[in-house]
Amino acid sequence: MPYLNISHFWGVVVSSRSYADFTPEKVDLHRLEEGPPLTSTLTREDGLKYYRTMQTIRRMELKADQLYKQKIIRGFCHLYDGQEACAVGIEGGITLSDHLITAYRAHGYTLTRGGTVREIMAELTGRREGIAKGKGGSMHMYTKNFYGGNGIVGAQVPLGAGVALACKYLGTDQLCVSLYGDGAANQGQIFETYNMASLWKLPIIFICENNQYGMGTSVERASASTEYYKRGDFIPGLRVDGMDVLCVREATKFAADHCRSGKGPILMELQTYRYHGHSMSDPGVSYRTREEIQEVRSKSDPISMLKDRMLSNNMASVEELKEIDIEVRKEIEDAAQFATTDPEPPLDDLCSHIYANEKSFEVRGATPWTKLTSHS
């Protein structure tokens, strides 16, 4: 059969320390009479698509881990494995003509927003075919209607509201999704943005990806209130299980409808988890236990959850999903191969892209005798 109605479970993490299980409970609402529907229709086609995309993100991030340990990727590398359901579910609730901006844990979003694995990996290895030609790196990848990849914690949130303002100004029915983490959620500029977005009824969905830790600081050590979906105060909010791609999708659709009907901003908290540490320089076990990580992996892994659902409802066969795994693995291998063999950017490119639409001009090099040229 082409599709199946399944009821999905809204999970609530009771405390930041015990990931014992995901007990089905209703979604948490703030200043909302009703929330997203508690049942969702998953088509086989969508199921396979979500599975493939999440698996691609997973494999891509694990490959990045490998390449980083081989010192082929350097600098900052913030991996997204564990959080795949957020990026994929959000994209399932909006369209590519909507807009999205996030912080530095951005590889997954670069993919869901239209980037290819090849150009993402080549950017991580700093090569000329990277999505930012090697000029940006892990934290500065851009594509159409995707504004990065932003390194300064919290700065992306007012930027996202600006994009939303442009949507409203230009009379489109597009919206902007503006993501931030539990660590960023205490940033003053986010509250400034809540205020202006509300005053001006901007079509913005604020999304807090609560993965329980801001670097090494757990939520209860950083925030006087860990109910991030309520922190928007006068902004309606909802909190859902960020490990369940369907929960994320339904919540996003609900939020998008809210925005598009001119009601102004809305805030979503996605409860999720990252398997890796904060970045590749963080083993991720000094501030949390290995047992906790293992527990989430075994009980709440987003890909396993979707896989089990599809298998137990006869929406796909084991072989079929294995086939997808093999294809994804190949795609990642090819991309990694490309990313390690593609040449580095030409030195001529060093000073380019300072100004847009400008004729070429001289740039001072490291010494007064080194005269370099900048092209637009």
Binding site: Y142, G148, C176, E192, M196
Partner: protein, 355 residues
């Protein structure tokens, strides 16, 4: 009049030739109105242009620079913001990402420090980080530098701070011609422009020619102007101090010293060619600025002269006239002695020329 009437009644036909001396029309426009008109015309020209900032709409602008614009263009295009610089500067940059052309006003540039991350990290660097994918066509503007009696937290000059950063254009107009032409150029520029005005210049009138009043009058960013030709020494300055240099030059001329006065107009990119050409002509250099000396605009100019061909033409070391290296005091006598005065410029010129 009576004789003309009787003449005409007499019926004598006569061809009277009226020779009208067409004096070129000049307009007295103060800097505030020049900025206002520039914004008005650019708002009319391009629907994507809009203005946001504190008090820009219903208050007509804290310094009345945006007077009348809200009445004409309404809430959509002239937006009053809450007092949240970091937030609204970020919103302005995001709007620029998505294809609008915002003018983001800081009530004074001192308040930009609250938002400086958005100016530098979100605006200035993005075109480079994205390898030319994402443009940021935004203008940040507002009054910069010292005012009168507003004390330390409201008197800082940010030319050196913003001038330090690649990816930004930094502009510092002096007179109405500068204000008009450079603001239009800034709004039409596809890059982030920091536009440093001066509150004490807002009310000062200057003559604008008909050509300057034209809707498409723009002054190229990155080009300095020689305001006064001279032979003995070059004075390089920006913003209000340009006027002091011209005043000092007038006094020195009486003693036979002819100063060449260069109005930078743009801090970044710096027009080194014009400065070098002038120094190679005069052999002497004094820079004049309102900002502090350490790591300032004058310091950069002197370093560049040292590193370039003009060094060999110097008859004496280049020196800087700057604001005093202290936070701005309040009492008038103290404030007057915290900023470069005309006598300081004259004194420095004479020292350099060994007079």
């Amino acid at each position: 009049m009576a004789s003309l009437r009787s003449f005409l009644r007499s019926g004598k036909t006569f061809v009277i030739l009226f020779v009208v001396t067409s004096c070129a029309s000049v307009f007295q426009v103060n800097v505030r109105d020049a900025l206002n008109q520039a914004m008005d015309e650019e708002l009319e020209r391009d629907e994507r242009v809009f203005l946001l900032g504190e008090e820009v709409a219903q208050y007509d602008g804290a310094y009345k620079v945006s007077r009348g614009l809200w009445k004409k263009y309404g809430d959509k295009r002239i937006i009053d913001t809450p007092i949240t610089e970091m937030g609204f500067a970020g919103i302005a940059v995001g709007a620029a990402f998505a294809g609008l052309r915002p003018i983001c006003e800081f009530m004074t540039w001192n308040f930009s420090m609250q938002a400086i991350d958005q100016v530098i990290n979100s605006a200035a660097k993005t075109y480079y980080m994205s390898a030319g994918f994402q443009t940021v066509p935004i203008v940040f503007r507002g009054p910069n530098g010292s005012s009168a009696g507003v004390a330390a937290q409201h008197s800082q000059c940010f030319a050196a701070w913003y001038g330090h950063c690649p990816g930004l254009k930094v502009v510092s107009p002096w007179n109405s011609e500068d204000a008009r032409g450079l603001l239009k150029a800034a709004i039409r520029d596809d890059n982030p422009v920091v536009f440093l005005e001066n509150e004490m210049m807002y009310g000062v009138p200057f003559e604008l020619s008909e050509e300057m009043m034209h809707k498409d009058f723009v002054i190229p960013i990155g080009k300095a102007k020689v305001e006064r030709q001279g032979t003995h020494i070059t004075l390089v300055s920006h913003s209000r101090c340009v006027g002091f240099c011209l005043d000092a030059a007038a006094v020195l001329a009486k003693e036979g010293v002819e100063c060449e006065v260069v109005n930078l107009r743009t801090i970044r990119p710096l027009d080194v060619d014009t400065i070098e050409a002038s120094v190679m002509k005069t052999g002497n250099l004094v820079t004049v600025e309102g900002g502090w000396p350490q790591y300032g605009v004058g310091a950069e100019i002197c370093a560049r002269i040292m590193e370039g061909p003009a060094f060999n033409y110097l008859d004496a070391p280049a020196v800087r006239v700057t604001g005093v290296d202290i936070p701005m005091p309040y009492a008038k006598i103290l404030e007057d002695h915290s900023v470069p005065q005309i006598k300081d410029i004259i004194f420095s010129v004479k020292k350099v020329l060994n007079m």
